[in-house]
Symmetry: C2
């Protein structure tokens, strides 16, 4: 149902000439129907074939976004917000055609309120850009999904990544949003107060709504003081089960670990080849500890002790910033390293998350499921949160491999659902997980989501065809 | 508009006889129309006069709640969920009449998943009851709004309290809910995974919805390991401004303080009289630090140093559990201590929250506004979050005092709104803050809330007349 071949042309209507003319007049060269531009905006990091919009508008301001949405609404034309194109589940594909609103030029840091530990940015600002802008303040923005995603996109998919085990996800770290609604109105979802009980939590409703309820144009996020001390470590284990058991014990003891990542031996091999590192090719945990000097020392001691008890060996420490960066760059590059294992390949990535007591079973089960695969597979994970990714490195032009990958993906997701887990910890539903969301949420919860969608976007113009069918 | 006298009888329709008969047959003595029972369920801790429902049902299970809601829906009769009645803003008042569903007997702890750091409880379980049940596990549930509120009620108002500065609010600590929808269906809002990007965040939509979108019947919450060490301290300051400046510096330095409370000199006087303590009658901060022995020591050292620099004196420490309990009981009793200042009085409580850089101005401004009051006033606050409460101790039978209190309340809220703050940090909107929500959110955001309400409760049977007018 959600297979790429299943985007029927019938869903697309030609772009109304009057709309094209009006947008061209208004935006000049910032309005484009060029094939290359549309094609670029009709894909993301998912393995789906490009499904281009009919046109692209490069917006500079919230007001411009509101204008485009209002014009599209008047003519029932879909709009899809586009940041940097790093989403993984087909979120950006124009399966109903329409206009892609590219917000990447909305890249101004609007305010850094260092005293309040908040910053407000336009939606196109990326996380690295924000952290660059924060350099002189002694503060940082912790959420790190690996890719240098836009803050708007990260909010839209409820992203998280390696630091979430300590600092939370976008859900916890977005204080408020500016959103353009389906009728082209501009709404600010919350004040800058750290907490509020003032009515429905519109912020959290838009966080994770994947562009289907409104277009996010500004994001106010929480910042954190750069810790006095940071220390990273790598440790390898004789087995997957021992590595994961170490994680479970560290979390259950309440060690406030900042990052806690599992990388399987195959991923390590790919990393070593790609990043010219010499990590031991075994099930491995990457840790990072943040705090005062003594607190970091204490956390590291405790983690090391638990790891040793479970057979962990070759503890390597990195405390200098450049060493930590090298370590985490290697970890972050696992996606690209994995693709290099097989030239021309694309990756299908699972994203299950389970209660941590089921994590060992869940990953071991996934590994068993993947053992039958006819293509390379790897497992990495934000295991401190119970979240991990299987990476299925497939030939996107081979339908048999695609089908096989989907079968394996299905089995891994079903296993997680059977453990009271979720089909997606941080990537979102997009096109690819729609059928899993049905299973996970159930008809009645999905009915609530559909009612909310219809109430806020009665003409279904906002990123239609994503999350659920209407 | 939101004055007690403004609940017109015209909103009430008599309870349909057939519904009463049906519920009486189904629930026997657990269905009551007795005046005393209804009166008890028609009030909360707000100063509004009782506004009783037409009947009360004491539910035992989610399925029973669903039955009652379905029957009420069929006859367009309002339903109001009732926990322990500790809300402060008129949430429980039956301004449109109808049935109060008392969930206080739904008081079973359904599951403690110690390994996952989660617990699932029926909505009537109170926070103290949950912590009692957790005693042998080495875990605790941190959210502490002072009153021994029900978890269902705390979720419904997005409550928080003294520990929120470190552990977050109900928003961060509810993993999932079981909710009865307006059409009597039972929906589970999320899996037990620690994070998820699976569709709209229904959990956060119901958290803080004050019973207007569904009846919460079960709550799954996050738990935390009891810290290895805990230490509390009291320190007094020459002035309000110095006390608050100390807080701002401690927060901005990222000290992970677990509690950080301001108590004004008048509140201290009331506490001393009520709790037979001998605290110095000056602007005072109450702190609590959680962590390892060395971490608590470090945090305490740093806080003490900052406090000293700002004129803090008479640091008193409490590390033994009984001493800490005595200290926090005194702090928690400030509400009742405040009422004792004036026999027969009731309190109107403000609940503003501002970005922390504006906190000093905001509290100083509130103090100045209150200086003109003809009745006793006090200020206490969860100042680490920028949230504080002014307590206006009025004679509820004196309309002039009520009107004066509302004027002062208005001025304090407007001041907070002018600082990009919120009218309610943790108490909710209820009846009392409806007009402030309009100002704070604006027409377009309020329009989104109304659309969501209409989509999920088209007949307006769920706690009608609260949060906003339809």
């Amino acid at each position: 149902m959600n297979h790429p071949q299943a985007f029927p042309e019938a869903l697309r209507r030609p772009l109304p000439e009057a709309l094209a003319a009006s947008l061209r007049e208004r935006f000049g060269e910032r309005f484009s129907t060029a094939a290359a531009v549309c094609e670029h905006h009709g894909r993301d990091e998912s393995p789906f074939p490009p499904t281009p919009p009919d046109a692209v508008v490069f917006a500079h301001t919230t007001e411009e976004v509101a204008e485009v949405v209002a014009q599209c609404r008047a003519r029932r034309v879909p709009v899809i917000a586009y940041g940097v194109g790093s989403s993984l589940e087909g979120h950006l594909l124009a399966v109903h055609g329409g206009i892609s609103i590219d917000v990447s030029r909305m890249n101004r840091v609007l305010a850094i309120n260092a005293e309040d530990l908040t910053a407000t940015v336009q939606a196109g600002v990326t996380r690295k850009q924000l952290n660059e802008a924060l350099k002189s303040t002694g503060l940082f923005f912790p959420i790190d999904p690996g890719a240098d995603a836009s803050l708007g996109g990260m909010a839209a998919t409820r992203a998280s990544g390696t630091n979430a085990v300590r600092y939370g996800t976008m859900k916890e770290n977005v204080l408020g949003l500016t959103v353009v609604t389906a009728d082209g109105k501009v709404v600010r979802t919350a004040s800058r107060a750290k907490k509020s009980s003032a009515g429905y939590d519109l912020t959290r409703l838009f966080v994770g709504s994947e562009g289907t309820l409104g277009v996010i144009t500004e994001v106010t996020v929480r910042l954190y003081p750069v810790p006095e001390a940071m220390s990273a470590a790598v440790v390898s284990f004789p087995s997957l089960a021992q590595a994961i058991d170490a994680v479970i014990r560290i979390i259950q003891l309440g060690v406030p670990v900042a990052r806690c990542e599992y990388v399987c031996e195959r991923s390590i091999r790919a990393i070593n080849a790609y990043s010219h590192t010499t990590l031991r090719e075994a099930p491995t945990l990457f840790f990072e500890f943040h705090g005062s000097e003594t607190s970091v020392h204490e956390q590291a001691e405790l983690a090391q002790q638990i790891a040793h008890e479970l057979g962990g060996q070759d503890f390597e420490w990195a405390t200098r910033p450049e060493d930590r960066t090298r370590l985490w760059t290697a970890r972050h590059n696992v996606y690209f390293a994995g693709l290099q294992v097989r030239p021309g390949a694309r990756a299908i990535t699972t994203d299950t998350c389970v209660p941590i007591s089921r994590l060992s079973e869940s990953i071991t089960g996934a590994r068993r499921i993947l053992d039958s695969a006819s293509f390379p597979t790897m497992i990495v994970g934000h295991v401190g949160d119970g979240n991990f990714h299987s990476m299925l490195v497939i030939d996107p032009d081979d339908p048999a491999e695609m089908a096989e990958a989907e079968r394996l993906n299905d089995a891994i997701v079903r296993l997680a659902l059977s453990m009271d887990g979720t089909c997606t910890g941080e990537h979102g539903v997009g096109l690819h997980k729609m059928r899993f969301l049905e299973e996970e949420a159930g008809d009645d919860a999905l009915d609530l989501m559909r009612r909310i969608k219809r109430a806020l976007d009665p003409d279904n113009i906002l990123n239609p065809g994503k999350i659920f069918a209407l």
